[in-house]
Amino acid sequence: MREKILTFIEKNSRVDLHDLAVLLGVDEQMVINELEAMEAEHVICGYHTLIDWDKTDVEKVTAMIEVRVTPQRDMGFDKVAERIYNYPEVNSVYLISGGFDLMVTLEGKTLRDISTFVTDKLSTLDSVLSTKTNFILKKYKDHGTVMAETSKDERIFMTP
């Protein structure tokens, strides 16, 4: 049941809980209990909104920064990841297999914000060996959702 609830709310966390119970064919109180339990266990870590900022007047620059680091004894990559993710301007930090170690996404108002962060904060960390900053030019799809306008229903109005 947890998996079904999570699969649903991952796409639509604003669903009315009564409706959700009906859709999944279970008792509403059970849905509420499961959600509370999963929040307490931090299975559910937050409820966010997917926004296409490009359609607003707000100026935003997003960068994906590939970071190579030296892992630390007993801590591996966790310690250096923590140093990085504690910066509020950092959106996400992933440990990555392959040619580099950490993928850091970062949001700023301007290019200068990003470059300041990289040169002043990120590169100066002891364990950071190198960085490579990639700016996002256009977001086509995010969290499984295509950002472009959805296509309209082209089916014939009535068919047997």
Binding site: F8, L23, D153, I156, F157, M158, P160
Partner: protein, 392 residues
């Protein structure tokens, strides 16, 4: 001038839903619950395969029976999903949608005067195709109190010495009814006792919400008496690709193949390659869509209960078949007024046989948001009707 037309086709009534198109064409904000096809796009990996085969220039005819590769994949699929064993080289034919298979089976199996039992309400093409093939349709009117399942008693009562074949349309369009294994066992016994054949239209087999679909052909003694019709339209959201298949004993399939060979040549090559991909890697897509339909199904049942609209719980396809008998109108009147006054299109039950009178077919092949808006309008409409009735 001589009459250019064939008597049989002239006598067949055109589909009853045409007039709704005329009404809709004058509206700009009508919403529909009248569609008989999935709202999902064909899964991307299947479309991608279609594109890829076009790029490779695979644009020639396939063999009449269809790509061998596809028939082998279908045989594996039928075994893994429904415990049906067919020889891909002799017992499976790829058709242009399930519809072609229905038509060909009638034409291959019926002689003039042979009676065909057709349970209704059911899909619109069985009766005309049977007539065009020279058969005599005998309608079995299914009952709501049986959840529109066919019972052995109903079947037994309709059999005459001329009866040759039974059409078994489950999971059912338009009622959403299913036949469980125990129901089918009772039917199979009657079929065997009276030496009948079965045309089992299982196009909605993947959309069962109670227990896994059972094919009557998987029951003992039934494979040699059954032609199974299936396809990709509903299960893999591939209606426009026009691809289905028919399976049955070789003695029947050999003749069906001849009709297909002369009338059609082969099913679209591009669609066949895409379908190979659907068979190999599509099971998860099917499960995802089934789960979504099931959620909407629960939602509709719940809403109808809340509105006090009488409805049995359907466990198959993507239709729900509520009764509107309390309003004292025909299905056609109700559907016409609902469209004119609240701009919601539904199909009157009578489009699927006279015994569909008093019912509506509502499709849930729509997003939840769309369903909510439409149900809001439907509720407004029935509230108005009930108020009118009280004033009288």
């Amino acid at each position: 001038m001589r009459n250019p037309l064939n008597e049989k086709i002239t006598a067949i009534k055109p589909s009853g839903i045409r007039k709704f198109f005329d009404i809709v064409s004058e509206m700009d904000d009508a919403i529909s619950l009248g569609v008989g096809e999935p709202d999902f796009d064909t899964p991307w990996h299947i479309r991608d395969e279609g594109i890829y085969t076009l790029e490779k220039g695979r644009t020639f005819y396939t063999s009449n029976a269809g790509l061998k590769e596809l028939r082998i994949e279908i045989a594996k699929y039928l075994d893994r999903r429904f415990h049906l064993q067919y020889d891909p080289l002799k017992e499976i034919l790829i058709t242009v949608g399930g519809s072609e298979g229905i038509d060909n089976a009638f034409r291959a199996m019926l002689d003039p005067g042979d009676e065909v039992l057709i349970p209704q309400p059911s899909y619109v093409s069985y009766e005309p195709c049977c007539i065009l093939a020279g058969g005599v349709p005998v309608i079995i009117e299914l009952q709501e109190e049986n959840q529109f399942r066919l019972t052995a008693e109903e079947l037994e009562a309709a059999i005459t010495p001329k009866t040759k074949m039974l059409v078994l349309p489950y999971p059912n369009n338009p009622t959403g009814a299913v036949m469980e294994k125990s129901d089918l066992q009772a039917i199979a016994q009657v079929v065997i006792d009276h030496d009948l054949y079965v045309l089992s239209d299982e196009i909605y087999a993947e959309l069962c919400y109670l227990e896994e679909h059972t094919s009557i052909a998987s029951l003992p003694g039934m494979k040699e008496r059954t032609v199974v019709i299936n396809g990709f339209s509903k299960s893999h959201a591939m209606t426009g690709w026009r691809l289905g298949y028919a399976c049955g004993p070789q003695i029947i399939m050999d003749q069906i193949l001849k009709i297909h060979q002369f009338a059609i040549m082969c099913a679209p090559t591009n669609s066949q390659y895409a379908a190979v991909e659907a068979m190999r890697n599509g099971d998860e897509d099917v499960a995802m869509m089934r789960e979504q339909y099931n959620q909407r199904r629960r939602f509709l049942i719940h809403e109808f209960e809340r509105m006090g609209l009488k409805c049995f719980e359907p466990f198959g396809a993507f239709y729900i078949f509520p009764s509107i008998k309390e309003f004292g109108m025909t299905s056609d009147e109700f559907a016409t007024r609902l469209l004119r006054e609240e701009k919601v299109a539904v199909v009157p039950g009578t489009a699927f046989g006279d015994c569909g009178e008093g019912f509506l077919r509502i499709s849930y092949a729509y997003s939840l948001e769309n369903l909510k808006i439409a149900l809001g309008r439907l509720e407004q409409f029935i509230t108005k009707l009930r108020a009118e009735a009280e004033q009288r």
